[in-house]
Amino acid sequence: MLSVQNVHTYYGKSHILHGVSIDVGPGEVVGLLGRNGVGKSTTLKTIMGLVRPSEGTITFEGRSVAGAAPYHLARLGIAYVPEDRRIFRLLTVLENLRTGLDRPGVPPERRDALLAKVYGSFPVLRERRNQAGGTLSGGEQQMLAIARAMMLEPKIILLDEPTEGLMPRMVAQIHEIIDVLHGDGVAILLVEQNVRLTLEVSSRVYFMEKGVVRHHAPAADLRRNDAVIHQYLGV
């Protein structure tokens, strides 16, 4: 469904991605692991159109989307949850959700159903719906960032380190919501530092090093044999 082939990306003169290739099938949860600064976040940003690749192809459902505008990609069904969450701090929780909900072609019943669904998964967001996004705790902001992405009814969510800095209870909740999304048939490309979570939720895992994908294996194999994980992550 999403296919990234030999993508090169630069920030100014620094060459960040040196030919990254990744595939995500429909409804598949795929992990992307690697040490800090190997280009995992840049890979997601490049897919989302926030950084322009200088070389390579990105196709989504058969159409070429490399260099397309982010809002166009969002309308096609790609949602992005950035590492720093990027909540609209001065908008209320409900207004944050409405940024994704107020798109053309969503009838009122559908809107209500979508809101009811995320409020069901994240009851705290319903309680705080009239509170400014910036006043939420880190964990709540992460919930809101994921809930906001769900408003787009995406076919795939690019999830960048959702558990970073969260307490274990919140991590468990993130795990749960990934399972729910997976159950709904939403594909996920998950960038994480939390190896255990990644192996638990993903079907396949890619390992990145210095701007390229070095290794690629089914999560089940990695759960049995963690030598690869030691090799690429040093843990």
């Binding site: 982010p70 809002y71 969002a74 609209f88 908008l91 787009l152």
Partner: protein, 290 residues
């Protein structure tokens, strides 16, 4: 020395009336700055062209309200064209380039108006000509109407920004352009629409202001200078702050002109501007939710 109460009250009303028009011009300016980081030096010319377009429609139809509507629509459209052709290609570049672009645009528009309409000021007649007695003065109803209409337009903008679907898009884009785009908000379109709204508001103030001073090609200059002071004192990009600052500065000038001539009273605004830049460079007023 005591100030007569009637004089004080008259100056309060004068201050509020000018303050509301100034607020109308300044809120367009600050809205555009807030969302695009563009300091629009051509804003005064949009104000002036609005007044001219209004006067043309007024001369042919004799209807003030039609003139106001036509100016708002026409200059709003012009704003959209200016944004797409001149500013959109400069997005993300050094702010200096947009300053040069809008400054150049301001010169072009000003000289166009001089060439098209000539140097003789035009007049728009006020739609209501009545006066009421305010102590020893015959105060024109029209000046109050201007204040009320300006307040209504600003109030409408506020409601639109607070509750409207597109208002939320605008606020989201103002806060985080990149994330707004990632949420499917068509950011280039939002920029164009905001610029058009700002231009339309400038045109509305131009038409409303026309009957008070007459319409000429340089009328934007004086006004825009004061609008810039207001925007800086209120906090760049802070809509509520701009409105408060417009009223605050106009009241201050009105009071000052009890003692000195109105031309000298402008100095007060500059003093406030300098003090603000020295001690509260982010603006006098606490940021309001945007």
């Amino acid at each position: 020395m005591t100030i007569p109460f009637d004089l004080l009250l008259i100056q309060v009303i004068n201050g509020i009336v000018t303050g509301m028009i100034l607020a109308l011009v300044a809120s367009g300016l600050t809205l555009i700055f807030g969302i695009m980081d563009v300091v629009n030096f051509a804003h005064g010319e949009l104000f002036m062209l609005g007044a001219y377009l209004g006067s043309t429609v007024f001369l042919t139809t004799g209807n003030f309200w039609l003139a106001l509507g036509a100016a708002v629509m026409g200059i709003g459209l012009l704003g959209a064209v200016i944004q797409t052709t001149t500013l959109r290609p400069l997005l993300g570049r050094d702010p200096l380039t947009t300053i040069l672009a809008t400054f150049g645009l301001s010169l072009v528009l000003q000289n166009y108006a001089l060439w098209q309409y000539g140097p003789v000021p035009r007049k728009i007649n006020e739609p209501i000509t009545g006066h009421f007695s305010l102590f020893y003065l015959e105060y024109p109803w029209y000046r109050l109407l201007v204040a009320v209409l300006s307040a209504a337009i600003i109030g409408g903008l506020w409601l639109f920004m607070k509750y409207g679907k597109y208002g939320i898009w605008i606020r989201a884009t103002t806060q985080d352009r990149v994330m707004a785009a990632a949420m499917g908000i068509p950011v280039p379109l939002v920029h164009t629409v905001v610029f058009a709204i700002g231009a339309a508001m400038a045109a509305a103030s131009g038409v409303l202001f026309g009957p008070l001073t007459g319409v000429n090609h340089a009328m934007g200059l004086d006004f825009i200078l004061r609008a810039f002071i207001v925007v800086v004192v209120g906090g760049m990009g802070n809509l509520g702050g701009s409105i408060l600052a417009a009223i605050f500065l106009s009241l201050l000038e009105a009071f000052a002109s009890i003692w000195v001539s109105p031309a000298q009273a402008v100095i007060v605004s500059f003093v406030v501007l300098i003090l603000t830049l020295l001690f509260r460079p982010t603006g006098l007023f606490v940021p309001t939710p945007k």
